[in-house]
């Protein structure tokens, strides 16, 4: 290494040697970098050259050199995902083989399925049912105990798998309430709406006395039940409980009677596969409203 103290071109003012370069009387001082710094620098250059041989580095016209190690970050992600898949495969196989009762009875399977179902719910379901599964007007709240198509684990699974009024699935839940605007007079609709609105207050005392009672018995009870308790076989809502999905208050009930709205839910079985819909059913069941 260059030793400035043995140099003949010493700068008088600073006592440091010069490189011998001079511009208009100004000389360039020669302060070499510390040895460790220079060695580290050279080592880095060697390292960098080696790196470009082993790893993707040099840009070509349409791609880049792949490096002799064949490394790629995408492959890294793929292998990490594969490891995660492999780690889950035991549970996945067990969930695939078990029915809902078995999944819920086994603490480990239930925990795994509920957690996985929660993740799948956040991706596929919250758009309609909300991030806390609390629903909104027209979209059922999955936390409560009021079920249109049944709240047992198996019924939940069936609904998720085949959907509701889903055109793409032959086994989907289908039912349709007629538009009573063409069948009943508007006073009749108003009185039956009053009757329905009063049902949750305790139908026993009002059912015979109310003017709407007879109309209800003739037109509505075949689906909604004699006391408005609903029928999960055909997705007819329970009108006697305190929860309502579409219509709160007489006006809204009357509107629904005249020209009913119907909810639609896609069939998820074909999209997500057996295992994921079971996990979703386990998650929905875990929300606490299941039967």
């Amino acid at each position: 290494m260059h030793d400035p103290h043995k140099d003949s071109h010493l700068d008088e003012l600073s006592g440091v040697s010069t490189t011998g370069h001079e511009w208009d009387g100004i000389k360039e001082l020669n302060n070499p970098l510390p040895r460790w710094w220079v060695l580290t620098f050279y080592a880095c250059i060697v390292w960098a050259l080696g790196y470009t041989v082993f790893y993707p580095a040099w840009p070509l016209l349409t791609s880049a050199t792949t490096g002799v190690l064949g490394y790629s970050s995408r492959a890294d992600v793929r292998s990490e995902l594969a490891v995660a898949e492999a780690g889950r495969s035991g549970y996945v196989a067990a969930i695939k083989a078990a029915d809902m009762q078995q999944i819920l009875a086994d603490e480990t399977l239930r925990t795994v399925a509920t957690a996985a179902g929660n993740a799948a719910f956040k991706v596929n379901c919250i758009q309609c049912h909300g991030s806390g599964a609390q629903g909104s007007k027209g979209f059922p709240n999955l936390n409560d105990d009021d079920w249109l198509w049944g709240g047992t684990p198996q019924q939940i699974l069936t609904t998720i798998t085949h959907g509701v009024r889903a055109p793409e699935d032959a086994d989907t839940h289908v039912s349709e309430m007629p538009a009573f605007a063409d069948i009943l007079k508007s006073e009749q609709i108003a009185s039956v709406a009053t009757f329905v609105a009063d049902l949750p207050k305790g139908a026993n005392s009002t059912e015979t006395a109310a003017p709407g009672a007879e109309i209800f018995a003739q037109n509505c009870a075949s689906c909604h039940g004699e006391r408005g308790e609903g029928n999960q076989e055909m997705g007819a809502p329970n009108l006697a409980d305190t929860l309502s999905l579409l219509a709160d208050g007489e006006e809204a009930i009357a509107a629904q009677i005249r020209a009913p709205k119907h909810g639609v839910m896609p069939a998820w079985g074909g999209r997500l596969g057996d295992v994921t819909v079971k996990e979703l059913a386990a998650y929905v069941y875990s929300l606490g409203g299941g039967k």
Binding site: M1, P4, S131, G132, Q134, D144, T242, G288, G289
Partner: protein, 519 residues
């Protein structure tokens, strides 16, 4: 007086002294510390044996924890987030005990430094201990100072190659053992030892061994004093911690100067002669390559080997020991004032001696009083206070912990019969290495009913929840209350979690939300 003059004058150069200091880009000048012998050297051997013994042996100590937890006495179980130290088990949320220990270590270092100076550097710092160990190897293979200097200057021959290979080989062995011992603190030592040799251990274990082998070999064998001088922040911090009552290794020039290589002749000619015979024994022994006679300097790690070297020479000369000694700046200044007649005259060692050649009684020496200063007492008080606090915390800490998270989305659920339901996540932490059964119930929420997913209620309304040893159990709890019972305001109630076999009980106050309360 100076009849025996068989003191070997060493041709030693203090390569790192101020006078010799090189520009930064010049290659390092090698230091060949000569073996010292004496009390401080003995003490350093002892410290080395203890510190290395602790480092290498502690992972192999066993401690029975009853089968549910590892039986290694000291274990940092990163995978399971537990720290085991004999009878103490620390969970991540109790990490403040470790933080407290670090604060105590810091204050302890302040206390140590303000009283006995850079004792940490000189005796217990791993860099010092391992360099010492590497020097033992170097001396055993290549010989002491002169032999090593000679060997270093020789051109490469079969003999030099053999010696050098042997030396670096043993160094590398020590380095591997050092890196190897480290990993045993993080996993079951006997299992890991077998795994390491059969190639079964985790990649990170081999990485750790490799990195620590490299640092041990490079720092302890090749860089040595450069680590202390250029890389370490302690010399700067510790130097700032010293004051005039702290002990430092000091050359007592008030009795040593004027130094003379021909003391007998000079004395005969009537010249003033100090005790220092300029034999360079102190310089040759110094592992940092400095001359302590230049005064206190940053490079000095106060290993006290120069004291041993000088004391040996003084013994041979029949002079009192302590020409180089642990001294406070206060004592030094007082003695210096005595030797220079209050700073008015050049040093005259006869001023510090009585007529018959004994050291004067007016000289000041180390005294207990210099240790007891407000500063050191405060350090000691804070140190003890934190220590007592930590011990108190440790003795009274709870081994059962409970957290309740109220569902926030949604905050409550209306049910079809009009009642209101709230959901909670109840987390029970069993922080001992034994399985326990907890009884869970709620209190002060009228007409409420409670269900816990996966747990059946007992006849008395409580839920018996088994919790595995050293585990957290998370439960989904639903509490339902009829609509007419809720007063449309936030109600507070209590979760009571009781250890069915032990005395521990935890209470957690939670809230119950209703439609009216969350407006």
């Amino acid at each position: 007086m100076l009849e025996k003059m068989d003191i070997e004058r060493l041709d030693a150069e203090a390569v790192n002294s101020q006078k010799q200091r090189q520009v930064l880009y010049a290659p390092r000048k090698k230091i060949f510390p000569k073996r010292a012998s004496g009390g401080f050297r003995q003490f350093k051997w002892l410290v080395m044996a203890i510190t290395l013994g602790i480092y290498y042996l502690v992972p192999w100590l066993r401690w029975d924890r009853g089968g549910y937890a590892p039986d290694q006495a000291v274990l940092i179980d990163i995978a399971n987030r537990r720290f085991y130290f004999f009878f103490i088990e620390i969970w991540p949320q109790e990490f403040f005990y470790v933080a407290g220990l670090l604060v105590m270590a810091g204050l302890g270092l302040f206390l140590l430094t303000s009283t006995v100076g850079r004792a940490w550097c000189g005796y217990t710092c791993p860099q010092t201990v391992w360099v010492d160990l590497f020097l033992v190897v170097e001396r055993a293979i290549e010989g002491d100072r002169n032999a090593r200097i000679k060997l270093d200057k020789e051109p490469y021959s079969l003999r030099k190659l053999t010696l050098r290979t042997a030396k670096h080989g043993v160094w590398l062995l020590i380095a591997v053992a050092t890196g190897g011992a480290w990993i045993f603190y993080f996993a079951d030592a006997p299992t890991l030892l077998k795994d390491v040799f059969t190639g079964q251990a985790a990649f990170v274990a081999y990485c750790t061994i490799a990195v620590l082998t490299a640092t041990t070999y490079v720092f302890g064998g090749l860089m040595r004093e450069q680590v202390c001088t250029y890389m370490c922040p302690w010399p700067r911090i510790q130097a700032a911690m010293l004051d005039e009552a702290s002990l430092t290794v000091t050359y007592n020039d008030w009795r040593g100067e004027p130094r003379s290589r021909h003391a007998k002749k000079s004395a005969a000619q009537g010249a003033v002669v100090g005790d220092c015979v300029d034999c360079n024994a102190c310089v040759a022994a110094c592992p940092m390559g400095i001359d302590i006679r230049d005064g206190q300097q940053l490079e000095c790690i106060t290993c006290a080997l120069c004291i041993d070297a000088c004391d040996g020479v003084m013994d041979k000369l029949g002079r009192e020991r302590g020409l180089i000694s642990y001294t406070t700046l206060n004592d030094y200044n007082a003695n210096m004032a005595l030797a220079t007649a209050g700073g008015t005259q050049p040093i005259d060692p006869t001023r510090v001696r009585t007529a018959d050649g004994k050291l004067a009684t007016a000289l000041q020496h180390i005294s207990l009083a210099s240790f007891l200063r407000p500063r050191t007492l405060l350090y000691a008080a804070f140190w003890s206070l934190i220590g007592v606090g930590l011990v108190y915390g440790l003795v009274t800490r709870e081994r059962l912990d409970v957290n309740v998270l109220h569902d926030r989305n949604p905050q409550f659920i209306m049910l079809s019969d009009g009642s209101v339901r709230n959901g909670y996540t109840l987390k029970i932490l069993n922080m001992i290495a034994k399985p326990r059964v907890m009884a869970v119930r709620i209190e002060s929420l009228p007409q409420s009913s409670i269900t816990i997913a996966g747990v059946e209620a007992q006849s008395d309304g409580a839920f018996l929840v088994p919790v595995e040893p050293d585990r957290l159990r998370s439960l989904k709890v639903f509490i339902t209350q009829p609509r007419h019972a809720s007063a449309d305001q936030v109600q507070t109630f209590r979760f009571i979690i009781e250890d069915t076999q032990g005395p521990e009980t935890k209470t957690y106050t939670a809230t119950f939300q209703t439609p009216g309360s969350s407006k």
